[in-house]
Symmetry: D2
Subunit: 355 residues, 4 copies
């Protein structure tokens, strides 16, 4: 099974390194006849793109997507959609330090242990730059899922959480943090800027809600919708935790508190709570699908950290150059993309079996 | 892709319902020449088996595993290992209530929404009884992984956590809770018994540590070891959250706090912390692999809960009969099994690519 | 990818050895709500079963199928259908010769080279007995494909071909050879009996026609309907060649001769020839799907053949015991089963992508 | 499962249409540390490239491969190798006729039946141009397989076969037909030229031999080496038949004639015949792996053929423009590529399971 491929029926394969000529995704299994242009993908790329505010890395990549195949006369043909993004800002930089020593928290040591050597320029294949390809593929998945509305937002930076009573989805696009709480966004300006100026970094939690998912998507046991979402989210760079619905909080509830009672309603049951996060037994219930994702602080910091060199000797390393003080922010469009890709895949898988 | 199959190179497929004649797993891709008998699997079955104490369901299933294929003269042949467990305690019971109304928190409504009808006897395919097949397959995976030591334990029941300074792995087998902290185990006796007597239920957190995993297992991007573990764990019945290493806690750390510095050591680097949980960039680092899994309280409670019937009408349902007051307890051997299956799969996948 | 699993969306996994306690298939992805009983599968088992005439092996296996899961109240539930067939006629036999020396043409040497040892009793996993599990799974696939009519027959035994002008499908069930030409069936009685009495064996060609396959099943490039059929058929024991439509004959035609001209017709085009065998570009055209499969003579013959022993020494071996003088005959229901499984899989895959 | 992806452990995905901007392959699972440059791939591209003699299509494509990822400092890194080939000779042409009517024997009608419409320019995704991507991927696979020698050649054009006693592999590169028999190559000049001048076309048979494949590659039942080869070869454009070893000829042999006796030899058994084509029970025996592939005559001919239009009306179509009079010729490097890809995949799969 291809380790650079994701999905069951709607499948995409990504390729490319941070500092190679380009990176891309090949999306296979896309239904035919869907209107698709580069312009329909670009806004999602722009949301993820670096350099949009002082709170994200200053690397400047236009992240312009080219569609190389699978579209004819503006519509998908049902054959593979090849999406390519050229790497533009490959600033010629001195990588000799990273080549020689392992940055703690990065994949440097693990890649060397696995493959014997690595492309050390900008993290190579382990760079979060790979997620640009996911966002491009996810933009197509959204077109397949037309009725589903997917919204991700940052709910916490460091220890500072949003006020859930103040959540307003209209706020998400109005601040550089994908924050649905205007007051929190205001506070985060200082918080993130301080980390940035100190050469430090912050973790974050991103939540994602998918509305209008019909009941019945998902599958038993090893094709559970929540299991596939968990794998999808944990596979995003810097993610260390995933929750569905009440998540770890559910471990502290009693059965009575955790119940999601149902009442008769039009067009299906009305649920009086959503601790399940819209999924029971691995299958959607018709409630909003709710996922929460923990991003660690980026490991690239200006403080020197103890490490070892390629020859095993003790040394220290500081990460110079342009970095995100809080990778969770730019992770938000990636979480949305993975949600879209998992849901579109399960929509089609459900159709295969149940017609 | 088969939704009842798990794995990449070492793959297993499970089948069977709670109240059918039997259930089983077919494990494919197992290396040849591994000594394997039914007796080597049975202790893991017994650890998961119901009816072992008053703190778990009183359903009595011997869960005796039969090996039907893939073993010759006591050794695996490299062909599929078929493992079958007969269902013995299919108490003839009145399921008419469950047939007519959906139990909130259970898969009843979702299965009906997907398939149009369901085998409602004991939860059918969505029953946690399916996990017996995983434990059987996991027991074989452990034999493939001989050098790796996998230990899972309950670290929290309800809101009551273990004292991490008191953790002693030798305690795990000495109490009915897989608890490594003797004092906590003592407290939990009352806690769980109260829930049991009240017909209520409790959530739990299970932690799992895999020691002696060499650096280099795992793969980039969509075959990440942590992503596969997250999918594996979230696919266990009643699980709502998964963390690797510092998990959601990492979201609250600074980059400096979250760093896992390295120092030169014999046989590879010595890490001064393990916030990463033994995985960086999706690939093992040689540190212990640490996973934490949140189990919700079982939805089967004696209190009547609002729900709807198959015809959409309002009604209420109480779950009668024998149930686990805290499913996380018996989930512990299942977490170990999934850890073993993911690791053995990645060991073999690594060997395929890197020799 | 599981090497004992077949299919893309409708997937089945088989397990079991010739002389183990049982063998079986787990069919996953089956649509829900299909009426299914053991009685509906059994006739296909009987067609493949040994011991039905003197022209096939005298091993006597009732090949009674048990459905262990996935069916409730007589209908498929959408969860895995586990089918088990017990091995009854495990005549206690002296396998010491086969254990020590490799039977040429059998898998003995290759299995030892791969796995280091093998289950030598009756061929173990490489026994054609495995095909019983395929026939059981195929019987379910036929129920999914209700409108499609699948017919396989023997068109040639040794060098003796049927007369195509005399083909009458009604004859197929009236002779022990699945022969659609009554005169050929008559001739084959002598032909096969002579081989049987001489302890020799004969090859055969089996043809299979699937009628009422709608245009549009199949997929480009690596999911071609003909490629999947070729893989499916070549994977049947003793098969050495597969043709679609005009097959190798097409290599001798000119472009003009090979054309399948179309004329306007009701319900789609009328084709004036079917050299394509119902598939163009890997996708069905609405014409009958036509496959031809070459079976080698069974390698089990009474004549001593030069071989080597497990320790590499020169020796000879004769295959004693009960064997098919012409394995192609009993291969006929297996070819039908594989046709049904490939078509049902592609029907569902098409539905996934194209709705 | 991705229908534009091939392989089990070493997997490649191709994308691109005949007249789009480019086409390509993403090869995943490639072992790290293999020396790889564009120059090492190009000779295989050139062998397949059109316009090399008057016996193949006059379309002129340089088929220059670019490596976009997965290689660092001249060696594979173990991450996806993205290979891209730009389409250069997209002669602006009038496709209005092909857009309106279905070319018999082409995929036109089937694609429309499946997807509702199609990219009709030059055959779109169903064009044999896709095979350029396979050849590029196959060139990498050969580097993985270093000890294996793969040789394909044309053994028959139309009804004219080579003389097997005159086969000399050194001749293959000395004529425009990949023909190992100098006299046959001479005859074919007239044969193919006549077809070309008449606007007709010819079928062909391509044989492929892989030497030095060790015993033990392959797998039981649904991962058989011969089954995977059959699927791989039948999936090449215009292929209608596949044989392993004696193939359809084996159907006419007796068990005695078909036996491949073994004698003790150095480094494994010496076989006295190779009717099995190097594979028994789906697993390699150490003998040369021998596959034979039948190509139909290309359906693009100058003679008008009856067909129907998109609206179902009767019409006729002639294929104008540049075409191969015998597609089997340029299919030869594609057969080699698919052989290499299947073998490298099974080498790695074997290593996964058996170490």
């Amino acid at each position: 099974m291809s380790v650079n491929t994701f999905g069951r029926v709607l499948r995409f394969t990504t390729w490319g390194e941070s500092h190679g000529p380009a990176l891309g995704a090949v999306l296979d299994g896309c239904p035919p006849g869907i209107a698709l242009t580069e312009e329909m993908i670009q806004p999602f790329m722009d949301a993820r793109a670096p350099g949009q505010s002082k709170f994200t890395t200053q690397r400047r990549e236009p992240d312009a997507v080219r569609i190389l195949s699978g579209v004819f006369e503006g519509k998908t043909t049902g054959t593979p959609v090849s999406l390519m993004i050229e790497n533009v800002d490959q600033r010629s930089k001195d990588y000799s330090e990273v080549a020689k020593a392992y940055r703690p928290g990065h994949a440097d040591y693990a890649y060397d242990a696995k493959y014997g050597f690595r492309d050390y320029r900008g993290g190579g294949r382990s760079s979060a730059r790979e997620t640009a390809a996911r966002v491009a593929a996810g933009a197509v998945a959204r077109l397949i899922l037309r009725q589903v509305k997917i919204t991700a937002y940052v709910s916490q930076i460091g220890k500072d959480e949003i006020d859930r009573s103040a959540v307003d989805f209209d706020q998400i696009g109005r601040n550089p943090f994908f924050c649905p709480d205007a007051a929190a966004a205001k506070r985060w300006e200082n918080l993130v800027d301080e980390a940035r100026l100190a050469g430090s970094s912050l973790g974050a939690v991103v939540e994602c809600v998918a509305e209008n998912v019909p009941a019945g998507w998902g599958a038993p046991v090893y094709g559970k919708l929540d299991a596939d979402l968990a794998g999808a989210m944990m596979g995003i760079n810097a993610v260390k935790g995933v929750e569905i619905g009440a998540g770890f909080g559910a471990a502290m509830l009693s059965g009575e508190e955790n119940a999601d009672p149902m009442r008769a309603g039009e067009g299906g049951p009305q649920f009086e709570a959503n601790n399940a996060g819209g999924i029971a037994g691995g299958i959607s219930t018709g409630q909003p699908v709710v996922v929460r994702v923990a991003f660690k602080p980026t490991s690239s910091i200006l403080t020197a950290v103890d490490t070892i060199g390629r020859d095993g000797e003790n040394t220290q390393i500081r990460t110079k150059g342009r970095h995100d003080p809080c990778v969770g922010i730019r992770g938000t469009p990636v979480v949305e993309a993975m949600m879209a890709l998992v849901l579109a895949d399960h929509m089609m898988l459900h159709r295969a079996q149940c017609g």
